[in-house]
Chain length 376, copies 2
């Protein structure tokens, strides 16, 4: 078995280098993952194939597969909420019409809205809005659409998807526990209540019944593992690299921690021992890749201002005709209050669904998969 | 007591007529409602007054009042979800970037988004998206932001607010039961879990502890009650009229049923005995006014097409440069499937909060109250 896996990996690596594009290696993920577990259902799961179709999506609603998908999506949401309710997190309704403070990183992927003859943005994250409540409410969460003006029509991109976010007064270690427990609560809710539905869709129950703690690897270790794929320290990891890592670490959820500061969101907390890395963690899931982005946050005015001023995001914002004044309310808050240590994350619902279903296509894991072509 | 109430009413009526504007009568609501219950807390509730401020909202987050509001908002959401979970409703994630199929009624209040160099809208309702799943999943619900390009900056308008919607395979009578039970579940969750918070904010527990069934009056009866205010059959009821009715019927939640077809959403089901009215119900709450819009739906292709073609909404859409093709997917669905009897509603979270807190200002009942001026 070990030998088969490493053969597959070598094949993947070779093809990746030959073609020189990520897409070709991406296409190879299917046989890589099929090498483990429920072969027949992964190679020819016509139930999941059916759910990929976005042309006349309404025609699919009468299918048993779509109904099963809808119930699974709902049970994943219920599982997440059960964890928040049981652990005293307060739900916050955050704004979705925002200034650049609703951006994740890339201003270019923000939708602009005609807001009474001026432009505003559609939020990609409620993070900063949760952050300013964390000193007082201690544990908060929110759920809602995250919008991305992403023109790609493919198996990885949606223009809106559901993001579950939490923020609390704790450290990265505790944050990873919360994430593990939320994902576990989501998966266990599906396993407990949607047995028929996951059987219909060919889900291997054993594959997703992975109890916390999840495996963890630092970014630096990950880059070493990927050195033969041309990945160098400081590079962002592409989805194909994440998939290779997941394969190396046993096809299970995998945290990659402590990314380079330069490639991450401006307010991720600088590591106390190494100023080039941040106290962050991405959770990579089999099939879907990065499903959770998480970090401790800076909480003092001076470092926050400095990091924001140096950030790529601000550069982009200014090129886009905006300015740092979008962040006035946020900066004023940290000027006014001392701020307290806190950390948080965003969990992409549809990528968790993809992992649960074992699907290579996010459209097969989403009841209304919205992209440039599917607007309805 | 009865005499005091009717005196207050007469005073209200008189002032309304003297000034001839709705605003002036609206301003009278405070004394009207203060005539019942916890007088001191209603007349000078500095806790609620504080929460109305939207300038530098972040400065309020450290206040105990804001923290209490956030926890109350969260518990209302939890109460609603408990009802849906306990009654086998499946949660659906509906799109928020939509064509005109995301409109409530008034195309002019839709925000437009630059959707890859073409315009799309921000959804006001997920109703039609829920409807096409109802024949298969039977009981569905959704929650999310409802967007209104409403330039008014006042105590009644927000540019985005949380809408809780349900749709199921039943009748208006059963629908009103669901609504009563959802509201009751929300209120009971607050009473059960947020006792300290509602005490801090001066909420009269007895006032909101109204057990179902709620009072019901037909639109036609309501218009008779309002005839001395110049209201004629066929007129839409304004918020001031709703408040007067609530007062007449004992300052409790009040359903107004069977509105004229001409002033309601195109797919509300025509009454089987009277073709001029629809099987609809609006729930009016003390303090906030219309908090729920509900109706049985047309579910057959021919009447749906005819009603849509005759609708004000389509007229507006065409004036706006749009066309009936926005509804293609929806009409095709009903052409393809027979359709089944169903009904549903939208519950405005923040208006329920307003009722619970006894506040005349929606901004005091919303953690992030978004309007033209409060964008952050």
């Amino acid at each position: 078995m070990q030998r088969i896996k490493s053969n597959k990996l070598r094949k993947n690596k070779k093809t990746y280098k030959q073609n020189g594009t990520i897409t070709s290696a991406w296409a190879l993920q299917k046989p890589i993952f099929a090498s483990k577990g429920n072969l027949s259902s992964l190679l020819s799961n016509e139930h999941l194939e059916k759910l990929k179709s976005t042309k006349h999506r309404c025609k699919l609603f009468s299918s048993l597969e779509m109904q099963a998908l809808a119930r699974i999506e709902a049970s994943l949401l219920r599982g997440a909420r059960k964890y928040f309710d049981a652990n005293d997190f307060t739900e916050i309704v955050v704004p979705h019409l925002t200034r650049a403070t609703g951006a994740c990183e890339n201003i270019a992927t923000m939708f602009t809205v005609d807001h009474f003859k001026e432009n505003c943005y559609l939020a990609q994250t409620g993070q900063l809005y949760l952050e300013v409540l964390t000193p007082f409410l201690k544990k908060v969460w929110c759920i809602g659409p995250s919008f991305r003006a992403e023109p790609s029509v493919d198996e990885r991109h949606l223009t809106e998807f559901t993001l579950i976010e939490l923020e609390f007064d704790g450290s990265l270690a505790k944050l990873m526990q919360h994430i593990e427990n939320v994902i576990d609560s989501m998966v266990q809710e599906v396993l407990r209540t949607r047995q028929e539905d996951i059987e219909l869709l060919g889900t291997d129950k054993q594959r997703i019944n992975v109890l916390p703690p999840f495996k963890k690897v630092t970014y630096t270790e990950a880059v070493q593992k990927l050195s033969s794929y041309g990945v160098k320290w400081g590079d962002d990891l592409k989805s194909v690299h994440e998939k290779i890592l997941v394969e190396i670490y046993g096809n299970q959820p995998l945290f990659i921690t402590h990314y380079p500061k330069a490639i991450k969101f401006f307010n991720m907390k600088t590591n106390e021992h190494n100023p080039n890395i941040v106290n962050s963690a991405d959770l990579i899931l089999p099939f879907s890749g990065e499903a959770v982005g998480a970090a401790e946050r800076e909480y003092q005015y001076e470092p926050l201002l400095k990091r924001l001023e140096e950030s790529n995001m601000l550069k982009q914002l200014i090129e886009n005709g905006g300015s740092i004044h979008d962040f006035d309310w946020y900066l004023e808050f940290y000027k006014l209050h001392e701020g307290t240590p806190h950390a948080g994350c965003g969990i992409g619902l549809n990528r968790v669904t993809q992992y649960v279903l074992g699907s290579n296509d996010i459209r097969a894991s989403t009841v209304f998969p919205m992209n440039k072509q599917t607007l309805m």
